[in-house]
């Protein structure tokens, strides 16, 4: 509360000092992490915020940690996803943060730069994670979060429809994907061969991997945007070709793709791990045999997008050491497998994928395969704006019929106007 008062006075001062003090430019050197004392057991209360389903299930797992560490109490507060960002922002401003919180990977650059997060101490062995999962929590060369779980996009396809269309194997290349979509419509009896977001609803998730698969990127090594490249234009024309070729539906509403996939009007789509259980539930008994998952079709590589959630500890935490010890426990391979059993979150720790529960499940193992060739979105503070820009311009490309070349130019101009926020 004293801290809160100070924060209040701080903002008041900010309000009154119109002449401003000027932003101190970001420090180039990585922030030094404080060590965690490992010779003493974790004690006290650790307050944790976790979103959605994770917030509901985490207390079950935490009980095991409490049993093994009698001095510690883990207090989990579940927060709805839709309000979590505002709640975190308010808590940082008023300095009323918990000890530990879950955080979406796309929020890391933003909250990492507030100075509210504690750098990851050497207690955590970072070599055990998928390397791509460490990209988002690394902000200005400092690691501020530990990957808790990952998600990646793979190809979901209706085996029965592709079978009927004479396609025995999941498509591996762009050309094969187009051909499969066409065959599914012509011979497989599907109304739509493929689903792709027509702009809104995740354009960046499909467009960026298509650039990466050609060896390109949207951010050069010097930190400037590179939307106006041959790779980008090629990705955009490939995107557009599904709609001009009538292989993907243009007018859709949220939920349509899932429903169509289950009722057989849609043959293929690229989506994330949470859809496996959704399809099994919606499709009912027997549906498990009708669909399969495979790594995404590619060009030079078959790179996909990786996201997920990180765990962060706050600098204002009164129980920092215990919080980090709990994080360390959560990233233990055996605990990660247990967590997969509880919440179906994909482990961020590579060793966990050797467990039979993951390795032997044909709906899950392809995700592990895909994670070896996956890339995170660029760790820039303005990425959410870039994402929106990509959605808006893709909509113009698909619905508005703008050419791929002009779209690439518009993306480049828009991105330069937005900047990287550095």
């Amino acid at each position: 509360m004293r801290l809160a008062t100070k924060a209040g006075l701080g903002l008041l001062a900010a309000a009154l000092v119109l002449t401003g003090c000027g932003r101190s430019t970001g420090t180039a050197a990585p922030e030094q992490a404080k060590e965690v004392a490992t010779d003493t057991p974790a004690t006290g209360t650790v307050k944790v915020w976790a979103m959605g389903g994770e917030g509901e299930k985490l207390p079950q797992l935490a009980k095991e940690y409490e049993a093994a560490n009698p001095g510690v109490r883990i207090e989990v507060t579940a927060i709805p996803w839709g309000q979590a960002h505002d709640k975190l922002a308010g808590a940082i401003a008023a300095k009323t943060t918990p000890d530990l919180s879950m955080m979406g990977t796309t929020w890391m650059p933003e909250f990492g730069r507030t100075g509210a997060l504690d750098p990851v101490p050497s207690l955590i062995d970072t070599t055990k994670f998928f390397p791509a999962a460490l990209e988002p929590p690394t902000v200005d060369k400092t690691l501020y979060g530990v990957p808790w779980y990952v998600d990646t996009r793979v190809l979901f396809y209706r085996k029965d429809i592709l079978d009927k269309a004479g396609i025995k194997q999941a498509p591996r290349t762009w050309a094969e994907l187009t051909a499969a979509a066409k065959a599914a419509q012509d011979k497989g009896g599907a109304k739509y061969g493929m689903y792709l977001p027509p702009g809104k609803g995740g354009a960046a998730d499909v467009y960026l991997p298509w650039i990466w698969q050609q060896g390109g990127d949207i951010l050069g090594a010097d930190g400037t945007f590179t939307f106006d490249t041959p790779e980008s234009v090629k990705a955009l024309s490939y995107y557009q070709s599904f709609f001009t070729g009538k292989l993907a539906p243009m007018a859709t509403q949220p939920g349509d793709a899932e429903r169509w996939f289950v009722d057989g009007s849609l043959a293929m789509q690229i989506t994330g791990p949470w859809m496996v259980s959704k399809f099994l539930e919606l499709g009912g008994p027997g549906f498990a045999d009708k669909f399969a998952v495979a790594p995404v079709p590619g060009d030079k590589t078959r790179t996909s997008f990786v996201g997920g959630a990180d765990l962060v500890v706050f600098k204002d935490s009164p129980n920092r050491d215990a919080a980090w010890k709990f994080v360390n426990w959560l990233s233990d391979p055996a605990v990660q497998v247990k967590w997969y059993g509880l919440q179906k979150d994909l482990p961020s720790v590579q060793a966990a994928w050797q467990a039979p529960a993951l390795r032997d499940n044909d709906k899950v193992a392809p995700f592990g395969e895909q994670l070896k060739d996956a890339k995170a979105t660029p760790p820039i503070g303005t990425f959410q704006q870039i994402q929106k820009l990509i959605e808006d311009q893709s909509e113009k490309l698909i619905v508005g019929g703008v050419s791929p070349e002009d779209t690439a130019k518009a993306l480049q101009q828009g991105a330069e106007r937005i900047g990287t926020g550095a």
């Binding site: 701080g10 903002l11 008041l12 001062a13 900010a14 309000a15 009154l16 000092v17 119109l18 002449t19 401003g20 003090c21 000027g22 932003r23 101190s24 960002h85 922002a89 940082i92 401003a93 300095k95 933003e110 730069r113 507030t114 100075g115 509210a116 027509p198 702009g199 809104k200 243009m250 007018a251 859709t252 509403q253 949220p254 939920g255 349509d256 503070g381 303005t382 959410q384 704006q385 929106k388 808006d392 909509e395 113009k396 619905v399 508005g400 926020g421």
Partner: protein
């Protein structure tokens, strides 16, 4: 009786004193009545308002949350940027179109319902009242689910009905020509109940003796409506018009739950624009946009007070 013996001038002075002490007493009472609001305003509103004004002249971003002194003032840059922000002006146009259609429809239907329920309709009155109010109290999520079903392109209820009539219905929410009108229809559907309830309360507040007096004076139904109902309804009408315009100028939920501002920005509103800018962490720019919206709303509201000729 003492006053009777006083000279006229002294009596008048005493009367003036009494009147002025009366006036003081009323002023004190006014402030006592205003006190709770003013105190709460001073405690919870004043500071955030000052902050948001100041913020609009700075480049504050969400990354400055923990260290809010560490920002630059940028003068009028944010406001200059709004002038050149094509998206903001598109949003402003959409917002004005939305208000121009949804407010009159909501008010007209709401008033008709209020009058019908207040007088002619006796049976089932409670059912009608709550029925027309249901959309107001339904949660946004349920409303979104239902309207998506109604407006879905290939199997939606409306297009299925149109198909029976041999018409190929449009892709309501995905077509640049029909998206905003769809949201307007939805907004009218949602808010008619609110207008009805307010009009109903106002109609019920009119003492029936006034109608009896009008009847004695030989006024017919129509005349009574014009000369008794309408004038007494005027403050309530002003209230509902002002509230509707203010609320609709801030319209947000419809695009938020239905279209995310699409297709091609045809349903983006100013509030939605502020919301996304704020979500991007550009607090300074979002604050500036908020104040521009405030000025637009304030001007239109003042205009309404003028037009309704309130003192």
């Amino acid at each position: 009786m003492a006053t009777a013996t006083l000279p006229e001038s002294a009596r008048r002075a005493a009367g003036a004193r009494a009147r002025s002490s009366d006036r003081t007493r009323r002023a004190v009472a006014g402030w006592v009545f205003a006190l709770p609001f003013v105190l709460l305003y001073a405690a919870f509103e004043l500071f955030p308002l000052i902050v948001s004004v100041v913020m609009s002249f700075t480049d504050m971003r969400s990354t400055d949350l923990r260290d809010p002194l560490n920002i630059n003032t940028v003068g009028l840059d944010n406001f200059a940027r709004i002038l050149g922000d094509a998206k903001f002006w598109q949003a402003t146009w959409n917002t004005l179109v939305f208000v121009a259609f949804s407010v009159p429809f909501t008010l007209a239907i709401g008033l008709a319902l209020g009058i019908a329920l207040n007088s002619g309709v006796r049976r089932l009155r409670a059912v009608f009242r709550i029925g027309f109010y249901l959309p107001v109290i339904s949660s946004g999520v349920a409303v979104a689910v239902i309207w998506r079903y109604l407006l879905s392109t290939d199997a939606g209820l409306i297009n299925s009905a149109l198909r029976l009539a041999g018409i190929d219905g449009p892709a309501w929410l995905n077509d640049t020509r029909t998206a905003l009108p769809s949201l307007i229809a939805m907004a009218v559907w949602r808010h008619v109940g609110f207008a009805m309830v307010i009009f109903l309360a106002a109609l019920q507040g009119i003492p029936r003796e006034l109608y009896e007096a009008a009847e004695i004076d030989g006024a017919g139904r129509r005349q009574a409506f014009r000369h008794v109902t309408l004038p007494l309804l005027r403050p309530a009408v002003l209230f509902i018009v002002v509230i509707s315009v203010i609320g609709n100028l801030q319209f947000f939920e419809e695009p938020f739950i239905m279209t995310q501002g699409g297709p091609l920005d045809t349903t983006t509103s100013i509030s939605y624009q502020i919301y996304t800018t704020f979500g991007f962490g550009q607090y300074g720019y979002a604050a500036a946009m908020s104040w521009v919206l405030f000025v637009i709303i304030a001007c239109l509201t003042l205009l309404q007070f003028r037009l309704m000729r309130e003192k």
